[in-house]
């Protein structure tokens, strides 16, 4: 279990050991959705809002 800093509020975000790139973590402090950009060391960024769309 490691920790990282929320890019929105600066609060601590707990990270599980099976963290994956692309995973979305909710900040427990401010509720922001954070995307795991890199795993080792962990890098978080605000997860992009993406409209739901589908193809064929």
């Amino acid at each position: 279990m490691t920790e990282a800093e929320c890019v929105e509020c600066g609060g601590d975000v707990a990270l599980s050991d099976d963290l994956e790139t692309g995973e979305i973590i909710d900040c427990g402090t401010c509720g922001a959705e954070l995307e795991v950009i890199d795993v080792n060391p962990p890098v978080l960024d605000r997860a992009p809002e993406l409209e739901e769309d589908w193809g064929e």
Binding site: I24, E35, A47, P48, L50, E52, W54, G55, E56
Partner: protein, 299 residues
């Protein structure tokens, strides 16, 4: 191709059609028909098996109606992927909708199957029925364009994730001038996806929504042919069929009733109406003259 009709049946159907819409259909004075064009969406879940639709389209066109055909063919894409030893990738979105994840290789196979195999086949079949059909993908002449979406939100093993490398997009513009030029020239455009994204890349888009975008842009009547008989208020009660809706408000009721894969069709129908389509009908593909029947409001 088998015709499936005797000459007498064709003539009778022809008379019916003229009777049904005599006030706004044929003009012996050479005037233009005042009816809006018809956008017919065929194929989908069970690939393209359009025999009934083909005859009906030929009939409509022979009566001077302007028709744009749109087709999908997702199943055929999966079949070809499997023949090539590739695994089709489907992902679940946060709202529970299942959708294809289209990586670069899948996109390549997608263009082989959609504008390649299926569109050529359907265009040839329509031409065989006397329709001056002309196949187009959304890339051709910039027919279907919009924003690229290379990342999607998915749910995998219960985790929310951003998945990148997707080749999909959202259609925001239709080249109606191209369609009108072709329709005025007597051609019947046979359109399919991919669309062309704003980064210049051909990408996946839902064929129902492509048909909706085209119908909206042309102010056309949209007939979406499916394997099921429309949208049901109660999906287990065949009596609860909602045959058509003419306004976004009416469609709100349909929307609430729709379940499963019909969600996409209803969403597309809503988009068509909001985009300017004159009318949207989701109808059973497996009846004789499915389009004429749908347009004449019954079965």
């Amino acid at each position: 191709m088998t015709n499936g009709y005797t000459r007498e049946e064709l003539l009778a159907a022809h008379d019916d059609l003229i009777d049904a819409s005599a006030s706004d259909c044929l003009y012996t004075d050479g005037g233009e028909p005042r009816e809006p064009p018809v956008v017919v969406k065929i194929g989908g879940a069970r690939a393209v098996e359009p025999e009934g639709a083909v005859q009906d389209i030929a009939h409509l066109v022979a009566n001077g109606r302007k028709v744009v055909v749109v087709h999908g063919g997702s199943t055929a894409v999966d079949e070809t992927l499997e023949e090539l030893g590739e695994e089709p990738t489907y992902v679940e979105t946060p709202s529970g909708v299942s959708g294809r994840f289209t990586d670069e290789r899948t996109m390549e196979v997608f263009t082989m199957v959609m504008p390649g195999k299926l569109n050529t086949e359907l265009t040839a079949t329509l031409r065989g029925a006397g329709v001056d059909a002309l196949g187009l993908s959304g890339v051709d002449g910039g027919l279907l364009t919009g924003k690229r979406k290379s990342a999607v939100r998915v749910v995998e093993d219960g985790k929310k994730k951003i998945k990148r490398g997707d080749h999909s997009g959202k259609i925001t513009d239709v080249n109606t001038q191209l369609l009108e030029t072709l329709l005025d020239g007597g051609y019947t455009p046979v359109a399919t996806v991919p669309m062309l994204a704003d980064d210049g890349v051909p990408v996946n888009a839902d064929a129902d929504r492509a048909a909706a975008a085209i119908a909206g842009a042309l102010g056309a009547e949209l007939v979406v042919l499916t394997d099921v008989e429309g949208v049901y208020e109660d999906i287990d009660d065949p009596e609860s069929l909602i045959a058509s809706a003419a306004t976004p408000a009416e469609f709100e009721a349909v929307k609430n009733a729709a379940e499963g894969f019909m969600t996409k069709k209803v969403m597309a129908a809503t988009e068509a109406l909001e985009g300017g389509a004159a009318k949207v009908i989701v109808a059973d593909a497996n009846v004789r003259d499915p389009i004429t029947t749908a347009l004449n409001g019954g079965g």
